[in-house]
Structure formats: C-alpha cells, structure tokens
C-alpha cells in the first residue's frame, strides 16, 4: 500500500510538470491550430534561466526559489513572444505544413544554439528550494515534490482565472472559436496571439525549473522527450481544451510512473506513444474534446 501511494505521489508530481508544458501546447493549438514544436525548447531555456539565476542567489530558501521561478517565467514569456513575432507571424495563413516545418526548424535552432551557448554537457541544477524529506508511515515525501505540485496547482488556477474571468482571456477564447468573427467584433488578433504565446511560454518555463529540480541535471536537449510527452498529454485530454490538457498530463504521469516501477520499465519511453496512437485511433478528439464536422 505504501509503495502504491509512493508511486501515486511520484506520478502526480511528474504529471503536474507535464501539465504545465501541455497547457502551452494546447493554448497555442487552440488559437493558431498548429503544433508549436519549439515549445519543448522554451521549456529547456526556462530551466537554463533558472540555472543561471539560481547560481547567483542563496540556495535553499523559499523566496529565492520563487525569484528563480519568476525570472525564468518572465524570460521565457519574452522568448515565446519573440519567436511568434519573428518566425510564425509572417507565415500566418500559409499552408499548415510550412508552419509545422518552421516550428521544427525553430526547435532545432534553439537546441543547437543552446549547445553552443550553454555547452552540450549536462549540468547539475542548484537546489534553489529548501530540500527536506518528510517520512509518513514509510511514505517518502520530498519537499521538491510538494513544491512541484503546489506551484503547478497555483499556476493552473491562475490560468483558469485568466482564461475564464478576464477580458484578454475572453478574447483568447473568442479567437480560438472563430478568428475572423473575433476580428469583426474588434479583437486585435495579434495582441491575443502574442499574449497566448507569452502565457504558454511562462508555464513551460515554470515546468522547466520544476523538472530540473526533480531530475537535477539539465542539458540543451532535455526538452525533447518531456515536450513530446506533454504533447501526447494534450492530445489525450483533447487538444485545444485547457482542463483536458491537465487531465491528460496527470493520467500520463501516473501511467508512466507505474510502468517505470514494473518490470517493463525499459519500455517507459514507448508507453506515451502507445497511448497517443490508441487515443488517436479510438477517440481522436481526446478525452474531453468535442468533435467538429469538417466543412467543405
């Protein structure tokens, strides 16, 4: 029983990180209808900003950790908006394949520029939050896991508030529903899209720092695998659907942790893709997604 609870806890904290990344994918897909492949590398840049800021702050304090998180989030928001402005906007309205390829190009660019700037060797991430391990009846709860789950929950509630209770959030939903009609009622699409990229990149940056805390080594290619899995999570929940992304991420995190603990642990990396294929075959709109008819 203890072991089961331990796995649930591990799954929950992994799922929370996936959720933070998946939300960015799903929001961008909602407004622009394309997979932002570079998102997973924004996640990586977030971890590196966290690394450099964390080096200069006294480690092991709550306020220090929060400053690191805030810095990474701010930096990545700027990066996300810049990427959209410089690379994706000129292609808007073009063939989807071209946008997809550009996104792949952007992803490779961030990865290899990262290797040049940060170096290709993995680095140890500083312990920015106080590290403590609490043991309850044999259940080992590390402080980092608690922080991951707490921060992710707070950010998700904040996101929910932004999207459903603010003016810009309403505009975002309007653009996702119908960009042309949104424009007709006076919504500035460019501002909304920039905002979406900023918001998504902020969440990815938080995910990056939290991921680095739990798996304390970072390198320029670290985003690739979690990024792909987070996208799987977004598809699982129904891409374009914000609660769906969170749900999908939690499910994926759980499944992966349990597979990792079983004797099929070497197939851990394949399970996410098996889920992806399964969901696309049997319920392509995702768990919470809605089917839409294609109009000719």
């Amino acid at each position: 029983m203890t072991e089961f609870l331990q796995q649930v806890l591990n799954g929950l904290s992994l799922g929370a990180i996936y959720a933070l990344i998946a939300l960015g994918y799903t929001m961008v897909y909602g407004v622009l209808r394309f997979i932002n492949f570079a998102h997973s590398d924004v996640f990586m840049v977030g971890a590196f900003i966290g690394y450099y800021v964390g080096e200069h702050l006294p480690g092991g304090t709550v306020w220090g950790g929060l400053v690191v998180l805030a810095a990474a989030m701010a930096g990545c928001a700027v990066l996300g908006i810049l990427i959209e402005r410089l690379v994706y906007r000129p292609l808007r309205g073009g063939p989807t394949l071209n946008v997809l390829i550009t996104a792949i190009g952007m992803s490779l660019f961030l990865e290899y520029t990262g290797q040049l700037v940060f170096g290709a060797t993995p680095r140890a991430f500083p312990a920015i939050f106080p590290s403590k391990v609490i043991s309850v009846h044999g259940l080992i709860i590390s402080m980092n896991q608690v922080i991951v789950i707490l921060v992710a929950s707070v950010l998700m509630v904040a996101l929910e508030f932004t999207v459903f209770r603010t003016k810009i959030g309403t505009a975002m939903r309007a653009v996702a529903l119908n960009p042309k009609a949104a424009q007709l009622v006076g919504i500035n699409i460019d501002v909304v899209i920039s905002f979406t990229f900023g918001l998504g990149s902020m969440l990815a940056a938080a995910g990056g720092v939290l991921y680095a805390l739990n798996y304390p080594s970072i390198d320029p290619l670290m985003g690739v695998v979690p990024g792909l899995k987070a996208f799987v999570a977004a598809v699982l929940g129904g891409v374009g659907n914000i609660p769906g992304a969170a749900l999908g991420a939690l499910i994926l995190g759980m499944v992966e942790t349990f597979v990792d603990g079983s004797r099929w642990s070497t197939y851990k990396d394949a399970i996410a893709f098996a889920i992806l294929i399964g969901i696309l075959l049997f319920r392509p709109a995702g768990l919470l997604g809605r089917y839409t008819a294609e109009k000719v």
Binding site: P90, L91, I104, S107, Q115, L116, F273, E294
Partner: protein, 328 residues
Amino acid sequence: MPKPLLTLIGAVLLAFGVSHYSDHIDPYYLDVITGVGINVILAVSLNLVNGYTGQFSLGHAGFMSVGAYLSAAITLLLGQKLFGDAGGTDFQQGLLFFAALIVGGIGAAVAGLAVGIPSLRLKGDYLALVTLGFGEIIRVIFQNVESLGGALGLNGIPNYTTVFWVYSFAALTVFTVVCLVRSTYGRGFLATHDDEIASEAVGLDTTRYKIVAFVIGAFFAGVAGGLYGHFKLTITPTGFDFTKSIEIVVMVILGGMGNTPGVIMAAILLTVLPEVLRSVDEYRMVLYSLLLIVLMLVRPKGLFNFDYSRIAARLRVRLGGSGNEGTR
C-alpha cells in the same frame, strides 16, 4: 523499350561501371558518394509520401531501422551458416546481400502497412505525430531486443555495400516513383495531395492511395537502411531516431515537395554540405536550422522548385523570339 526503362538500365550499367573502378577513387570521396546515394533513396521515397501524396510522415528513420536490422541479421546469421568462415565467393555474397536488402525492404513495407492502416485516417499534424511516435516505439523495441544487440546495436556487419548496389537501388527508386506518379493510377496520389475531399467526391479511395504511398516509401526506406547498415558496418537504435527522420524531411522540403529532380539535388547538397562545413562543425546544426526557417519564409515551395515553363518563356523572350506561348 520504353524510355524510362532504358534510362534505368543505363543507370544500373553506369553504376556497375563506376563500381568496377571504385578502387581508383579516393576512399573519402567514395564514402561521400555512397552516402549521397543512400540519402537519394531515402529522400525520393519519402517524397512519394510527403510530396506527391501530401501526407506528413516523420517516421522514415523508423522504417529505415527495420530494414537495416533485418538485412544485417540475415547477412550476419545466414551468411555465417551458408558460407562458413570462408565467406563464399563474390557472387554468392552479392546474391545473399540482394536477398537481404529485399527482405529488409519487405519487412519495412510490412511495418509501413501496420503503421499506415490505422494512422493514415488522421491528417496533418496528427499524422506527423503518430508516425513520429511509431518511429520512437520501433527504436525502443530495438533497444530492448537483446539478440539484436540491444542498446549497443549490431556490430561486425559485412562490408557489402558498393557504389553499384547503392546507385542501382537509387535508380530503381527514382524509376518507381516517377513512373508511378505519371501513371494513370498514380494521378490518384496527386489528387489526394491537391484536395482530399474533392478526390473522395469523385470516387477515389484516398486512404488506399495514402497507404500504397506509405508502403512503397517504407519499402525503399528499408532497402536504404540495409545499404546503410552494410556501409557503416555497425548500427545502433539511436542512429535511427527522430533527428534522422527530420534530416530526410528537410531534404524533401528543400528540394520542393513533389519535385523529384529537386529532391535529388537537395539530397546531394545536404549530404555534401556537412562535409564542406566540417571546418565550422559546431555551427553546422545552427546554420542548418536557420536555413530551414529562412527557407520557409523566403522560398516556401522549396529551393529547387523552379517553374520551368516560366523560365523557358523568359529565355525565349531574351533570345529574341516571341514570348507569347509562355504568357498564355
């Protein structure tokens, strides 16, 4: 005999001739030439799927790995049993290699069928992801099969790949793809690419076309994988990951989707370019990715996608003739 067939036979004979004198070619250049040929096979076969049929597959490296492992297993295990330690004559080895390549190709084609039937109902981004997912699953499976070397890969594969084999298969790939697309049946691929809904409306089974394109593409990827394995002499699962698939996709895009001569040129360029850029090795991939982005912004239809009729018209004007034909 029809012209394309003559060209094919000519190309195979030429490959045989060049191969015969390969001892006189500098080994470094020979390596580059072989690499170019393998990449031509990969790019042209992927072009059938991504270019002509308009589907976006990111799993070509996965099919390549199936072919590579299957054919290497055949030459390693069966070769040992058939010929003993002596190794057999050149002719026997060639025959075995040919059989291994074909079996590798068929294995990859079967994998393509298994992947294609469920996933080709999906479109665009989703298809890209599913094919990517399948490619990764294939890689993880190979990493876990101990009899195929696991994560360490297969070593000591016999050195069978020659210029003859590579260029014969390259010629065969180009021949198959070009003739297929120009045939009456093959118009269906282009129709699927141009407008899926309209094609379905006039009674074309678009899913079937997609699967056929996918299976043929996978077959040649498998053959290319076999050639690659017997050229590098060692294969590892990580050598066939997502990055390799992207590399092939970039060749197709750079050449211009659905433009075979352009794709061949791009495959040559992108194989030779890294060799030229060796001096600035660390910037190579950065330049590569920048090239991809800039290309999509500036020449979204591909670097080598020229409008031949317009160029001809312009030439005619310049040469003093009337340019009317081109402007019609």
